[in-house]
């Protein structure tokens, strides 16, 4: 029987700071929920968080909670609870896992953060359908449960060039949210605070972009699997100084690693680009699998979803409208193909893996011939793995392993 050497994965020391950032974030929310000293808005992960900050809301992002349900492997047992009340096993398993957790009265927050018993109760729910329609249904369900208002932006899909018509329409919807949100907040939108939040979000976005770009170094100081947890501040903390502080530290460490030629893996033979969602319940397993094959999954479309380069504090509504519409997930296939092609070139990858997530069609870009078209254009080989972000009933570990190992063998044999 052949020996398998345990792979060496170098952990980033700043990942502890990121952990503290997330702990502080959840404790602040928990305190606000318990004391009522600050209003809480639930917001979709690429929702208009900056407007909420301009009204003094603390923001909670249920998708992050769902990802935790995935990483803690609680999701698979909870999804059927939501299925039983009419939410299909074929729709977003973030939604079904999160609603299932609510129905069961459980949360991974309670396991990770002592003293926290439940997610913070919302005063209002705010969505943007730029990522999918499921978020609207998800938030509406909670709106009814908590008897609180739900406001949202209805975005476009399959956008080619983002035009002024798109921007005007989305900006108008964002402006129209202000009045109902002010009612809940009990105060007016402070334009200075709002602009400040947009400025901080932009700075956070620029720093996060630089952190991800650091993976272009050979060997890469970062893995995609690190990125999925390091992106926490960009998701929940954008618009705050704390997120900027966290990413300044991270960037410093990544640049230091790159300067020293220190990779995230002890040995990096192959570099892979990942398209689609992570399999949250298999982050560790997948990380070790690739590391054991001396292969680093260095970059992804997913982690780059929290880059909002269009944000401009001098034109907050319009720039937010543009930034939240320019996102990869909102765009048409021509844009997506060009984007992935440029990213593969920038990161100098040997292959690309598409994760076909059963319950997340919007994040599965392999269903309309893109892998074949891109392989023909670039000559870069691809592999599609079938799985899901949260529902572990929808994947086969053995098949994933065999597929990945065979793909790396293919790269080895040239």
């Amino acid at each position: 029987m052949s020996d398998e050497k345990k792979p060496v994965i170098r952990r980033l020391t700043t990942s502890k700071d990121m952990g503290k950032f997330m702990a502080d974030y959840y404790y602040e929310l928990d305190d606000a929920a318990k004391t009522g000293k600050q209003k809480i808005a639930w917001c979709t992960s690429v929702g208009p968080a900056e407007i909420l900050r301009g009204m003094g809301f603390l923001t909670y992002f249920p998708e992050t909670h769902s990802a935790m349900l995935g990483t803690s492997r609680m999701a698979t047992d909870l999804i059927p609870k939501a299925n039983a009340i009419g939410y299909s096993p074929d729709i977003c398993s973030y939604l079904t896992a999160d609603i299932g957790a609510f129905l069961e009265g459980v949360t991974p927050l309670a396991k990770v953060f002592k003293g926290i018993e439940s997610p913070p109760k919302p005063d209002v729910l705010v969505f943007n359908t730029n990522q999918c329609r499921d978020v609207q249904d998800w938030f509406n369900w909670y709106g009814e449960k908590f008897n609180v208002p739900v406001v949202g932006v209805h975005s476009y899909v399959g956008v080619g060039d983002v035009t002024s018509a798109h921007v005007t329409s989305i900006a108008k919807q964002m402006e129209n949210m202000v009045e109902p949100l002010e009612k809940v907040a009990g105060r007016k939108l402070d334009m200075d605070e709002f602009k400040q939040a947009v400025a901080l979000s932009r700075e956070c976005s620029d720093l996060w972009e630089k952190c991800l770009a650091a993976a272009a170094a050979k060997p890469s100081p970062l893995t995609f699997f690190d990125g999925t947890t390091l992106m926490g501040p960009a998701v929940v903390g954008r618009g705050t100084q704390k997120a900027i502080d966290a990413y300044n530290l991270l960037l410093e460490e990544l640049e230091e690693r790159a300067d020293q030629g220190l990779g995230a893996l002890e040995e990096e033979r192959f570099r892979i680009y990942w398209d689609g969602m992570p399999v949250w319940g298999r982050l560790g397993m997948h990380s070790k699998l690739f590391a054991s094959l001396k292969t680093n999954v260095i970059a992804s479309t997913y982690c780059s979803s929290w880059i909002f380069s269009a944000l401009d504090p001098d034109d907050p509504f319009n720039s937010m409208a543009r930034a939240y519409t320019e996102l990869f997930i909102v765009r048409g296939d021509d844009y997506k193909e060009q984007y992935i092609k440029e990213r593969m070139d920038f990161f100098n990858v040997d292959g690309i893996i598409y994760h076909d997530a059963k319950t997340c069609p919007n994040n599965s870009n392999c269903r309309y011939g893109m892998p074949q078209r891109l392989a023909e254009e670039t000559g870069i080989p691809s592999l599609t793995i079938n799985g899901d972000l949260n529902d572990l009933r929808l994947l086969s570990d053995e098949q994933t392993k065999t597929n990945v190992e065979a793909f790396i063998e293919q790269l080895e044999e040239g």
Partner: protein, 258 residues
Amino acid sequence: MTGSCPVYAGVDVGASRTKVAIMNADGELLGFHIKKSGTDFKATADDCLESSLQMAQAARIDIVKTVSTGYGRRNVSFSDDSKTEIGCHAKGCFLYFPMAITIIDIGGQDNKVIKLDHNGRRIGFKMNRKCSAGTGAFLEEMSPRLEIPLEEMDGLARQSTDMVKLGSFCTVFSATEVLENIRNGKKVTDIVKGLFYSVIKRVIEMDAFTENVVMTGGVVAHNPFLVSMTEEYIGQKILVPEHPQLTGAIGAALYAMG
């Protein structure tokens, strides 16, 4: 008995059957054995090795290197290295058909479509998704429902005069369709051919094929009528190696040769 020539062993521990191939340095197949994998992969692999060596008139001491493959590739105690079944099937097929080929392997639990260029270099591959439709497991599931032994399926399918068409992707839904056809008085021969057709359709839709198509795997070995049906379906001649069930083990032995 100990032969004087060095040999190379390939062990393919599949979900359904374990296959061992013993080859010499010239790539000639000297011995082989196939046995149900069962639940003790290690013991089965050992048994297969012994029988294969006996056929090859060789002994363990003659083995220069052993490479294992298949789902149980890490359970082979005497293996020096392991490779995926994708790589091994590719290597095994290219030995017999050294040209640009598309390989369709229908195994007990999974299907593979592997594309090789004219140098034997892998261009790409696909495996079936989680679903068992189109695999040997599908036929194994249907066999008791129709109360016919697996080994009789090929002969029955050949006798069909009016094939029943099954529409579903799903093995369970297909079983329901089979029951419906039995209720409607359809002949078993026509239903079995319909099952074969269902297997072919699931495999054909996995990928586009090149000019030369090779079929391998246990399901093909035991049901050669599947090959004829596939030829008719895709409108081209299909190549089949002498031992279609052994391709993975042969490929593993070739890897052992380096």
